[in-house]
Amino acid sequence: MLLAGLLGCGAYIYYLNLVVTHRFEGLRWTLPAHVYAAPVDLYAGLNFSPMQLEHELQRLSYHRVVDLEHPGTYRLTGDRIDVALRAVQFADGSRPASVLSVTFGPAGIQDMRDSTGREVPVTRLDPLLIGSLFPIDGVDRIVVTPQEVPPLLPAALKAVEDRSFDTNRGVDPLAILRAVWVDLRSHRYQEGGSTLTQQLVRSYFLSNRQTMGRKVREAIMAISLASHFSKTDLMNAYINEIFLGQDGNRSIHGFGLASEFYFGKPLAELDLPQIATLVAIVRGPTYYDPRRHPQRTLARRDLVLQILAQQRVINAAQAQDAQRQPLGVTTGASGAYYPAYLELVRRTLQRDYPERELTEAGLRIYTSLQPRAQELAERSLDTQLQVLDKRHHRRDAKLEGAVVVTSPQSGDVLAIVGARQADFDGFNRALDARRSIGSLVKPFIYLTALETGRYNAATVIQDQPVSIKLANGRYWRPENFTRRNYGPVPVVRALAESLNDATVGVGMDVGLDKISGTLQHFGLEHAPDQVPAMLLGAIDISPLEVAQLYNGLADGGFRTPLRAVQAVVSADGKPLKAFPLQVSQVAPTADVYQVETMMEQVMTHGTGVPAMRILPPGLVTAGKSGTSSQDRDSWFAGFSGGNLAVVWVGYDHYQPTGLTGSEGALPVWAHLMASLGTPPLELPAPEGVTQTWIDYLTGMAAQPGCAGAVPVQIAVPTGTQVPPMPGCGGATTVGRLFDRAGQLLHRLTH
């Protein structure tokens, strides 16, 4: 029986030995995909102030120093910033650590040089890590090589957790006996006495259940590990494996990720107090959570520093100096967390990658996200919704919102806000809220009308009551927002003031099928129901889809599929997939130009006017408001010369908001555009169109200065004869000749 028992034990030990060696030899952590924002390009001529560059550097956890010490630091001297750039991997290659000197002038960056004084025409800052796509078990980690580990870390771990690490055989019998004694006396598990190898075994092979049987298994496996593998391998495995914190459903494993998670910088850049803090956390990541229990963690860190001094890992002066330092953890759970954007990244890649490959293969995903635009979009939405909530208070609900910001030329999605609480990974309204777009559809109706050749911006149309017999025999009688009609109005006014009856008249004349076709050409995924209500925006789509539609308008009639992901690179830096820019023309540039010019009038004479109090002088924009029936949805979509932004505001449960597009979404949009530092809209006038002045109210030709007229500049097809406004001279052609002759006379006589 004894023999059988011994044989059984032997077989069990042999089995555990096999398990340990087999699994550890092929040790391969599941590596989540890491997602990066678009890196900022720096070049002479960029309108960037020293403060802006410093802000970007701080976002990347660069630290200001007096003398450049190591990568990840910078110094500010007068109008110059010297940066010790880190070695980084981009989607299209890597950059070694280097020093860059940036000199500023009145117009921004004036000059850039490297450490040898050679001119640098263009360079990039590091791409900001914005999150991970991790598997269902939530394990997230950044694997580091021994070369990336500061030597102080293993020394500190040994001093604090396992002083006999270099000599023991995986277990420390004395430490175990001491722990057993303590546990027996207290009749409960109180002390571990585990070596680093045992902790590694527990984390990698076993559960966290603290039973005697598991302790025995753990000890056998630790001995087995220590007998087969070098201490260097074991330490490296420990540093990458150990659990060091929790962020929602995401588990922080390994010191590489913990360094980014708590301090926002690579492990190699940590200083003594920060390394001591991480070593302190090892003992209990929940109990010693530096964000939730800073005092407790600080006390433990100071104890760690004291032990390090006692063990002569550091000297007493270093310990005392480090003990005077604050914890220094970053404020947020992570420096940059944009769940709405990450969701779009995940959905984009799910088409090409199975879930397992996406979350376990260590992919590096480079996106179009612009952290600054993202932060400004989040701030604008949150701030303005607070203002709106105060004005339109409902007890049963809080206003919600969504924002999408793009770069129209490239189709890059720069920012996505899916909720007013942007860091909450919940319902993503930017992607999933399918809401009626209201008058946002109108530019596409007028574009379709222009394409027929029968309309232009000056064409006078009738804003009169409309009654349309529907298929069910009932009549549809839409009304203007003001519930009154304005009779003959030029197209530009009908669009600027979003007149429903005038637009429905044009839409029915042009044809629902043609308008539907235009929308689909611009990127509407599904054909809308071809019912008259479509003309007032009874089309339920997400803010992201609206952004796709308007991106084509902002880009002169060129459709560029919006993209959040630019490239995917393997864990070892091999390019796997690129998402190159695509562009196709979907409407004649001359027609789109005319619509864009009319949308500028929306901002100066129509529903966009309130934005002009917020936008900086000189920032030319074009846009359109949208309001669905009973004010359930408040929209604004508009663009400058560099950015398109779409804003939706409403309640999740479709209660009326009491807000039009101008009242709800427009302030969010305007504050965002005002803060972006975006260039003004400067449209290249295509061939075949002419800019001319008409009276905004009547559509008749009226030059500036004409008494009684409200002159607006519009674009019409070249050769269009606009009838003159009585008392304002002849038709446009004649009027311009007189004006020019007058100017000439003025020059000659003065």
């Binding site: 290249p684 500036p704 052609t733």
Partner: protein
């Protein structure tokens, strides 16, 4: 009488010149004063990366109501030039994908410069994407308004992309347009 006729002729010529030049800044007296109306006057101003050429004393005046697009000459800035150079080097080593990524960086710096779009379109032809190259050619043509040389280059790209698609008749027409805009010197 002679002096009067002379003055009339001179006046007529000057009138023609003024009609050709871009309009002076006009500030509508009774239009609502807004930054937008103050900013947007006449043809768009030259974007960064362009050099505005002085209005040429062309001999054929444009119709008076037609505000001819401002004459411009697009050039690449130093940063974009450096990136285009890098893309050419990548192209030499037949790494077309990398070259496209580099050119997209240049596009991020000068998104409204047709010359960058033309480079990107050219790269797409080399990479075997003539349909994309065609779209980029059209885009370049749209942006090149006012710069006959850039327009000619855009038409050349369009022609090349059409040829690569086997649309030879259309390619021929595009080539003709390119030549008309920027006749080659023999």
């Amino acid at each position: 009488m002679k002096r009067m006729i002379g003055a009339m002729v001179l006046g007529g010529l000057l009138t023609g010149c003024v009609l050709l030049s871009p309009p002076e800044s006009e500030n509508p007296a009774n239009a609502p004063a807004s930054p937008q109306t103050q900013q947007r006057q006449g043809a768009p101003s030259a974007p960064s990366g362009t050099q505005s050429a002085p209005p040429a004393g062309a001999s054929v005046p444009a119709p008076p109501e037609q505000q001819a697009p401002q004459q411009r000459t697009f050039t690449l800035g130093a940063a974009a030039t450096s990136l285009v150079g890098a893309a050419h080097a990548q192209e030499q080593s037949r790494n077309f994908g990398l070259a496209q990524e580099t050119l997209e960086r240049a596009l991020g710096i000068e998104p409204h410069n047709p010359l960058v779009w033309i480079e990107l379109g050219r790269e797409n032809i080399l990479a075997g994407n003539p349909t994309q190259a065609y779209g980029m050619g059209r885009k370049a043509l749209y942006l090149a308004s006012g710069d006959p040389h850039a327009q000619a280059s855009a038409w050349e790209l369009i022609a090349a992309s059409l040829r690569a698609q086997g649309r030879n008749d259309e390619a021929y027409v595009a080539e003709e347009k390119a030549v008309r805009l920027s006749p080659r010197e023999n």
